[in-house]
Amino acid sequence: MNYETVIGLEVHLQLATKTKAFCGCSTKFGQTPNSQTCPVCLGFPGSLPVLNEEAFKAALKTALALNCKIQKLIKFDRKNYYYPDLPKNFQISQYDMPLSYDGFIDIGVKDGAKKRIRIKRVHMEEDAGKLMHPEGERYSLVDYNRGGMPLLEIVTEPDINSPDEAYDYLTKLKSILEYLRVSDCDMEKGSLRCDANISIRPKGGKKLGTKVELKNMNSFKNVRSGLEYEVKRQESLIGEGGRIVQETRLWDADKLITKSMRVKEEAEDYRYFPEPDLVPFVVEKSDIEKIKKALPELPEARTGRFKSQFALSEYDAGVLTSQVDIAEYFEECVKLYPNPKTIANWIMGDIIALANDKALNIRELGFPAEALAGLLKMVDSGAISGKMAKDVLVEAIETRMSPDDIVRKNGLSQISDTGRIEEIIKLVLKKEEKSANDYKAGKRNAFTFLVGQVMKETKGKANPAIVNEILKKILGE
């Protein structure tokens, strides 16, 4: 029996505003527990929420960037349930009238085709505090710093049909969010969280199978792995004649399996009702248009522009636009050194490799566009060789010195003086008479050997192109 997979993803995104969703507390990460709280986000009696305008604007930007329709009337609802990380024992969220709905993200599939993943809704809500359960103790600790942080909940329709597509959707979503600069999208810090709903059904089937909710995946790779495991588990369970239980399962990244959480007998009744402490309001169409116009160029548009403006391939344009910092860096470099293909190769090759090695992003690497342009100009002028340039790059990043200074300091200037090179070649040929004769007798690798000897003699500084040219001329006699 052939099965197809049906997946829906629910992403919770922390907005990178200065202060929380409904109060003026700082949102800085990693501070002393319970140091960023106030009567409002602690839910003290008598406190009242006030909507953070920046958070609302960031939410609108995101909704528009995800091609959503914007709700005419903006209202909030209370989601009532008891838990110690929720001080008011209700969460301010949005229920029946989410901020936005009916959006989409297109992901690339095989053969360059595009697949549309529909976004059911994007709504605003506040985060809960963080609970810690010290091993072996009979108490739990709660840190309310996170309580009240502004969240966006982004829910897809069940349009995703494989764990790989899920991974691609998340990558694409993160890229768009980074371009908007509304969140740092860091799954490790918890500013981006993802839960999945997955079911399987016979290929071509119309009815949805029983869905399983999957939680506790803390990276995009883990989301993919968790889903892959679930697909196998569900297929083999059905294959053995079993039935899928509607439940919540947790991904165990150590054991690489999903485990069932306690199955609840009844669904939770959140007793949603409109939040009376926040007054509903209308967003004017003109304001929505203003924000839409002010949206930065998004990844897909930028990829298209890179292809046409810089004559880059689909692949290259894709890599360079995958992160907004890389795209901006590329354009800065091209402005200073107008050879897009060369810049692209350097960035996609050595520079990104170094950044990944050090787990830094391209800005943190500390090799500004001016430095790359300067480096490449030196290669062009023959001052250094291409190979030398790679070494200079590494040293520049380690020391934060400019390439010019490094070349000067190390005396790396390439030897391009033909007279000098000719002298050295003649020297080497005298030493390596045998190889010279081998070459003349037809052994091609003798040539390479001789070039190598010249380079060794000049400590790598001879301009290889010139060496090649002159050696060929001399030996050709």
Partner: protein
Amino acid sequence: MENLHSLTAHELKKLIAKDNTLPAAILDQLFSRIEKLDAKVKAFVLVNKERAKKSAAVKKNGKLSGIPVLLKDNICVKDEETTCASRILGGFKPPYSATAALRLESEGAILIGKANMDEFAFGSSCETSCYGPTCNPWDLACAPGGSSGGSAAAVAADETIAALGSDTGGSIRQPASLCGVVGLKPTYGRVSRYGLIAFASSLDQIGPITKDVEDSALLLSVIAGYDEMDSTSVDLPVPDYTRSLVKDVKGLRIGVPKEYFVKGLDKEVEDSVRAAAQLYRSLGAEVKEISLPHTEYAVSTYYIIAPAEASSNLARFDGVQYGFRAKGAKDMIDMYVKTRSEAFGNEAKRRILLGTYCLSTGYYDAYYLKAQKVRTRIREDFEKAFDACDCIVTPTSPTPAFKLGERTGDPISMYLSDIYTIPANMAGLPAISIPCGFSRAGLPIGLQIIAKPFAEETIFRAAYTFEQSTDFHKQKPKI
């Protein structure tokens, strides 16, 4: 000077202007009167002599300099025990003060303590307080009304010069009526709710309880106004309400709703209110009968919406961060259950259960949603009525003060005490209760005046005129 406690704020202001050492003397007289009387009246749950004396020592130049004010125990004052007369908030000292309290203090008012109330404002008699009931100074065997019973009784007994209460379904006006004092519920959004421990968020308002209309206008001028900490407070300028205190109602159009004069209205109350309408007529107002057709649905609608919001607002009282936490719980759920079962009173539990039920799946549409729709109809009744009149006059309470214990066994009969006050909360309208007579038994009767949103000036004009044309406000209980 003697008997400073029996004066109004505006009278004391004149004296303080001449002698700025007077505030200390006022406090002394007040505190000794409290010591003498409060064992009988039981209006106070907290008397803070030290804080008050410290405040009085600082010479301030404000609208209320040196004037002692008592706050209902659901209004937060920084570092002062605030319990809403509930065991579940026993020992709770808020780390911040309510905006209304801050505004009073910034104009030089002296906060003297906290007043008894029905637990979490759930009540119309001050009998659900965990501290026991307050007694009506006019007849200590009677209830003072509720839920701001302590505030109203203290003002009536001259145990404070003025007080603040809160009103969700009548909790300022009804006790004011039963205690023969002036109680104003401002337009919803006129006074900040920040720091008022919430009962029903879409209905609650803080308001002044005072000895006369001028004091009411004075206090409202100080506490009213936009507060960025309260999204439901309205950004409209605050007029100097004392300028509305004119003794003139010529041409004022007064509506008297026929639906308020039905079975259950005490004959003596009806007579007093009709006499008041007559007086207005004789003073040149245009008094006519109007109709508010959806009046009969107000109480049942209120007792769906208010408990629903309350059930959510009171969810935070769980023993986790502050207040009471039950001992001996075996796990988290057990802690929640034990804490709330042990420390909430019966009326609180009743309303939480009611409210939870009305919001639950399968019942939300039939109860909460439907009630909110009927609420719109109630508001529309008033909008239509205000096309033809400037204010509406009604009885405040269907009866004068009832005996303590008389209605505690029958929640519905207790709920019906609010039948005339609830509609103004539902429609967000400003409304005042002023003394307009006495029963044969010597118990005060109150007249309610309701006006359009943010038309407190109309209320003050009508109320002041009536007050100054009678001497009901000059009567004091023999205590």
